[in-house]
């Protein structure tokens, strides 16, 4: 359960709207069920009071919206950013994609968000309501008379379980307690597991995963690092364009190039995996690059500092040779 309450956010949002600090608020709008919130702009106190929601299903990373939403608006947008969102926000500032003066960032502490598919796996389908109670999520389904309780631990999204940091790297104002970085988050555990497999096993693993790709582009379009004016995969002149994974090669290429393009820029927010309708663990590709960068070139966390030089636009004369990649890992 979030220590931050809806009221803390709505009262902050309304007061900032009323005193003219901001002209719009980027928040979560109520859905049909308890878990299907939609990121949305709120312009009036009335709208906020009626429709603004904050609960354990506010996983969406708002940073990317600020690229476009700050353009067509007079004044500032209030954005509620979780610690992980602030990394993406910083990275976008580094790449000059957002005008900082157009955003009022309210950092909100985060206790980890819930993953509806994990809940569904426990309670079964037909979820009619979910309420966030101190002892867990009370899930009512149409098949049960009594609600089932799912602990926050069991419901927590994978990406939140190995959250790299509860500390905001950017904000104008903070609501809730500031957390700490978590260097022991073991977010590379699964990557290491894959690395330890034989190439054949790895190939089989990824073939199984990537073959499910329907090339819906959700991973790309939700990614806060993918803000290109024109993506190479949409550009007929790029040589990589296609609208469907016509062959296994294209499945591989799409995901390799996508990960490569965000290598050194990916903040590891995990949105790609969250939105994949086929639940392909795409973050494992991004994390491989992050892990390699950390091992080869020293620790680097995209988005930690505005203006930092990404590892792929940097070098040292003593960098390891591509041929040493495998020696070094003792592979």
């Amino acid at each position: 359960m979030q220590r931050i309450t809806r009221e803390m956010l709505t009262s902050k949002a309304i007061s900032l709207l009323n005193d003219g600090t901001v002209s719009a608020v980027l928040g979560w709008r109520e859905g049909e069920f308890s878990y299907d919130l939609t990121p949305s702009l709120f312009y009036t106190a009335e709208d906020i009071e009626q429709n603004f929601v904050f609960n354990d299903f506010c996983g969406a990373n708002f940073s990317k919206y600020l690229v476009t939403k700050t353009l067509g608006i007079e004044g500032k947008i209030l954005a509620f950013l979780k610690p992980c969102d602030t990394y993406s926000f910083n990275q976008l500032l580094t790449e000059h994609r957002i005008d900082r003066s157009k955003v009022y960032v309210v950092g909100i502490s985060c206790d980890g968000m819930a993953d509806i598919s994990k809940i569904r796996a426990i309670t079964g389908d037909g979820i009619s309501s979910i309420s966030c109670e101190p002892d867990g999520l009370k899930v009512q389904t149409i098949y049960d008379d009594e609600p089932k309780t799912v602990s926050y631990e069991d419901a927590m999204a994978e990406r939140c379980i190995c959250c790299k940091s509860k500390k905001h790297v950017c904000y104008d104002e903070l609501i809730g307690e500031e957390g700490e970085e978590n260097p022991d988050c073991n977010r590379f555990g699964k990557v290491a597991e894959l690395e330890a497999m034989t190439p054949d096993e790895r190939f089989a693993f990824w073939r199984g995963e990537l073959s499910r790709c329907i090339r819906c582009n959700a991973c790309r379009d939700v990614c806060p690092a993918c803000t290109c004016e024109k993506c190479v995969f949409n550009n007929p002149n790029s040589g990589a364009e296609n609208k469907a994974p016509a062959t296994s090669f294209e499945e591989q290429m799409f995901h390799i190039i996508r990960a490569f393009h965000v290598a050194g820029r990916c903040t590891d927010c995990g949105e790609c995996s969250r939105v994949c309708p086929q639940h392909i663990p795409l973050h494992l590709l991004n994390r491989k690059f992050i892990k390699d960068i950390n091992t080869f070139y020293g620790e680097y966390q995209a988005g930690k500092e505005v203006g930092s030089r990404a590892p792929l636009v940097d070098y040292t004369t003593g960098d390891l040779e591509p041929g040493q990649v495998f020696e070094r890992e003792g592979m």
């Binding site: 790449e95 000059h96 290109c228 004016e229 024109k230 993506c231 190479v232 550009n235 040589g239 636009v313």
Partner: protein, 664 residues
Amino acid sequence: MQRIGVFVCWCGTNIAGTVDVKRVAEALKNEPGVVYSDNYQYMCSQAGQDMIKNAIHEYKLTGVVVCSCSPRMHETTFRKTAAAAGLNPYMVEIANIREQCSWVHKDMEAGTEKAIILGRAAIAKLNLNTPLTAGETPVTKRALVIGGGIAGIQTALDIADAGFKVDIVEKKPTIGGKMAQLDKTFPTLDCAACILTPKMVDVGQHENIRIFSYSEVTDVKGFVGNFDVTIKRKARFVKEDVCTGCGLCMEKCPMKKVPNEFNLGLDNRTAIYIPFAQAVPKVATIDPNYCIMKKTGKCGLCSTVCTVGAIDYNQQDEIIEEKYGAIVVATGFNPISMDKFDEYAYSQSKDVVTSLEFERLMNAAGPTQGTLLRPSDGKHPHTLVFVQCVGSRCEACAEKGKEYCSKICCMYTAKHAMLVRDKYPDTEVYVFYIDVRTPGKNFDEFYRRAVEEYGVHYIKGMVGKVAPEGDKLMVQASDLLDNKQLHIAADMVILAAAIEPDESARSLATMLTASMDTNDFFTEAHPKLRPVESPTAGIYLSGACQGPKDIPDTVAQAGAAASKVIGLLVKDKLTGNPCVAESNELMCNGCSACEKVCPYGAITYVDKEFRMPDRTTRVRRVAQVNPAVCQGCGACTVACPSGAMDLKGFATSQIMAEVDAICK
């Protein structure tokens, strides 16, 4: 669709011996875009070139593929041929079927197959070629020389003599640099001042040269032919155009205990000072760190005695901005600090000196008026030990010294030893060395004279320790040739300190976007073929800022840099290499990735208004490539995530077409 002509060269039997050229020409006839295909014994011959020209006219060719030797050999030739026939020279592609085919393969069948594939790749690329025209930019006919040592002086004089305006920026109050501090020069033993000061005067009087002494470059913008440079002229509290350099103020200045940097602190100067008698400009400078008036507001003696009223205690730094077509870096060197070499007791004994300090001690204008006296007690030294390679060639001790050879130490040490023995035959002189390196005209002869005529003791071996004991310096060393330990009670120890680039070089390099090596020496555009140019167009290198050098080499390089600058300034317009990067502004995100990888600083960003597809307008930050600065490496094209950046002549689509054609 292109109309391509394919010309397969036999190169006598060089190609035709392993490649069935007729079959190649025949096979390539059917490739898309090809309207003509033929073969000939020597395409590069006049007859071969005429064949191309005629075909261009006859078949209205829009492009030419020559299957022949390496493009590194004859690409230019065939481009000229095409141009002569009215075709854009960049509509020519070469398939390398000699060096990379016929010469490395023996089997006729395999060679022919490969030649066809290479030809096909060239055709595939050419199908996507577009005519390229090199851009032109005007040239500001003025050069900037940064650093006023012998390198800067020589470069400035040579450029000025050719009729171009030159400004010298020198951070010290006078030009002259290290050479002005030297006593004699090897291997001729002529007096440094005697050959340098006339040049300094020439510079001071040259109508085409301006000297900004006591000044620093603070910002550089622009590119080859069009640099905008900001120069800070530090306040010297003396009006430069009024001061006559009479020196009266120095006589009267009550603050006389300022360490004299010109003599490396071996004696003192006044707070208002002219570094040395032949300084150019010969203008006094007030050292605000010591001036009593500047520090307490009470004194003003110099102002009182100055008959021309040149003193201005309220003078402020002045910022000037000037345009230049070329910039020469001549920032020189310094001996490294001896702090980390305590085994030689440099900090413990005044009688352990560096070679540059020794120069001053031997110099008639130095603190001892040229009489060699020990700094500690002013006594005449009898036993002198020279230690070579102090901090040079330190492979194992990179954190202490430098890995490279400082190049000049062997020769100046021979000079010092010789001079000492010549002036004071009662002295014993030992030189400890790793190797004696004497490549250079008359260098080895010079060194042999030191050993043979002057009886200098050259000992191969390193000094392990110097320990002051009473008024002696106990030198512990090994003689590697005799394989024994030596103990010498010396009166003076002279350390041949390694030299390193001036500390201002690093920040300057950043301003100039000129690259440096790990030792902070400026990198040349090519180590052999372009030794006086920086990879950044319009930036030239003169003297020790590029690497350790002696005076002859420095002067030679200074002249070479000048001639390169003259070669640039003499042009009214610069024609660039048309194979440069180009940003598609509609696709550019403005993320700065390209800017960060560009080694030439060719990419800048502008905020530009765009009409969006939905008919709104939006201001976006987009990259722009300066074609005059871009050298066409293509690093930016890969750094760009959206593919907005492409390289003309080596476009993404062209390379992919080649890949496709090869893998067909």
